[in-house]
Symmetry: C2
Subunit: 357 residues, 2 copies
């Protein structure tokens, strides 16, 4: 495990995107989006994925020089065609558009088709904060999750992020996959040879299993809630809403037809749409009440929850966004640790493209 | 247990609302909203609650002749002051406004303060369907749920409903509390003297318990997900977002200050807002793509999910909204069974107000 500075990794990612053919601005945007995951501690979605994007580009499933277009709009909505561009670039374009719409109409809502993996959901939602807006972001993803009562993988881990500004307190930033845990946690258990908690995954017969390799062996993630008795049908609804908002509204591929991120799996034949889909929202808080009133009450909300009596005196109640902010501060100051396989992967990319690492 | 027709119960509820002082139109709206719960099988939210509304009205916490007002607006948003009216009346007013906004701006979003319990979330969201719009509805509620790591009850069961139109298929209607199960299910277990599954509730020390009386005895519901390991922090985020959208955006009471539904519990002192809060959304599907394209793809989505391979051949995969639709059809045809205590309760109301039952 070695440590790299944010600047080093950011510069490297940017150089790779330029080698893929991205223009300067897009490469910068893509590097900002990608590195936000490493900074916030979502290591599975940061530079560890860089070679994955490159492989999709090599297979011509990512277009490094997209012509991103608004194909449909109303005062408060738009539909964007990402032209198979990097989701890391298409998503900020769409979120900016949602913010511009909100400036005029009070709220802005943008559905995106023909895109690719967009990094962490939270990053895009947070773009709204500096405008005193609530930001929302969601995306569909490679099918890994079975609906309640099903054996088949029909939904992705379909994350939802909501960022809400406060005044003196830092913002509320919720960002979560609609499954009991993130896929990255399963990979950690696999490496350690440990079992998964019952209620995370099912085997290929649809039975709950603790085998942490269960998904790879033909099983599936369960929706948030886990078992039916614990409300998995609610996680199934949530994952479905993300799928429908992101892909059916926009004209992207939905459900089992969502294109896989890994380049060795081919996209489905006869797809019903184009690429992957996202959905973004921006709501001006002063479209509902004066911004300062809202933000002062958010301060009050946050303090009441943060100071609530904890079950364990050593584990205070967490405000969504707190852990990621602490991680960001720490990693900006002390650098980002990369696991050996990730470092090796980046070195191989450096050699392939003749870029310093 | 006796059986009553929809018309009987509807007429009775309407007569009671008129006796409370509601005008003809409001009494009709309130009865429609209330009875939709009985029809759809959410027995805890239907006529079983009628005497609860009456008791709140007797305590002057419900105003039967409200002057419901828009207090703030932009092209796609509005904030409504419910004037302490019945949520059963205030909510349809606000949802209609969201639909009107969407006709012009593409989407409409309405936050409501100074309201009361609004019946089932799903009913309001479904108002959007006939306009080829996606409807959304959420509300905060009496505090019964502890955030992850907390001992305190800071959130309600805060439901979310999303209704999405299709073409030949019936609509997708998801409507769920952001807890592992509905509070009504706990009451059933209590009556039977049975344990609750581990992962639903915690005792007053914050430890998971199977005691189905745990919430009454100073414990709390856990958020959807149940334990931290199974993603309760995600349910906590969801419940918080419902609370903030419903109450911090609108100027209602949030978190532990949300006024209790039961009349024997007094509202908190020094409340930070007014009454209970709701949040509604309406999105024209043709604000994103032609309505027929959208609805045909929804048909395709629904069929693919409904026909997916089930774990148990006798339990097909469920499309959200299917069970409630089946129940509605059955109860419209064969009537609505009321438990003895509910029937007794309604008879007492009939006597009190001199209304036939």
């Amino acid at each position: 495990m070695s440590t790299f500075s944010y600047e080093q990794l950011h510069g490297f990612a940017r150089a790779i995107f330029i080698k893929m053919g991205s223009n300067e601005q897009d490469a910068l945007t893509a590097a900002n989006t990608l590195l936000s995951a490493d900074l916030r501690g979502v290591d599975s979605h940061g530079v560890a994925r860089l070679s994955g994007y490159v492989r999709l580009w090599e297979k011509e499933r990512i277009n490094a020089t997209p012509s991103i277009k608004v194909v449909h709009e109303t005062p408060s909505t738009a539909t964007v065609d990402g032209d198979a561009g990097l989701g890391l670039v298409v998503a900020p374009f769409a979120m900016k558009l949602a913010i511009e719409k909100a400036k005029v109409a009070g709220t802005g809502w943008v559905a995106v088709k023909n895109s690719n993996h967009y990094g962490i959901a939270g990053y895009h939602s947070m773009m709204a904060l500096e405008h005193d807006m609530i930001g929302m972001s969601m995306t569909n993803a490679s099918p890994l999750v079975s609906p309640t009562f099903s054996k088949e993988r029909l939904l992705g881990t379909n994350p939802i992020a909501v960022a809400i500004p406060a005044n003196e307190e830092p913002p509320f930033v919720g960002d979560f996959a609609t499954t009991p845990a993130a896929n990255g946690k399963l990979e950690v258990l696999q490496r350690k040879g440990e079992d998964a908690p019952l209620g995370w995954i099912q085997d290929k017969e649809g039975k709950g299993t603790t085998n942490s390799h269960g998904v790879k062996e033909g099983g599936a993630w369960m929706p948030l809630g886990g078992t039916r008795e614990h409300g998995s049908h609610k996680g199934y609804i949530l994952g479905s809403v993300v799928d429908i908002f992101s892909a059916v509204l926009s004209g992207a591929n939905y459900g089992p037809w969502a294109p896989p991120f890994v380049s060795y799996l081919e996209p489905a034949e006869n797809p019903p749409g184009e690429g992957l889909g996202h959905f973004f929202g921006a709501m001006r808080v002063d479209a509902f009440r004066p911004a300062n009133d809202f933000k002062n009450h958010m301060d009050n909300w946050i303090r009441r929850f943060r100071n609530s009596e904890p079950t364990d005196p050593n584990q205070p109640v967490v405000i969504p966004g707190d852990p990621e902010r602490a991680m960001e501060k720490e990693r900006m100051a002390n650098g980002i640790n990369l696991l050996e396989p990730v470092e090796k992967d980046l070195k191989a990319l450096a050699e392939k493209f003749g870029v310093d690492f």
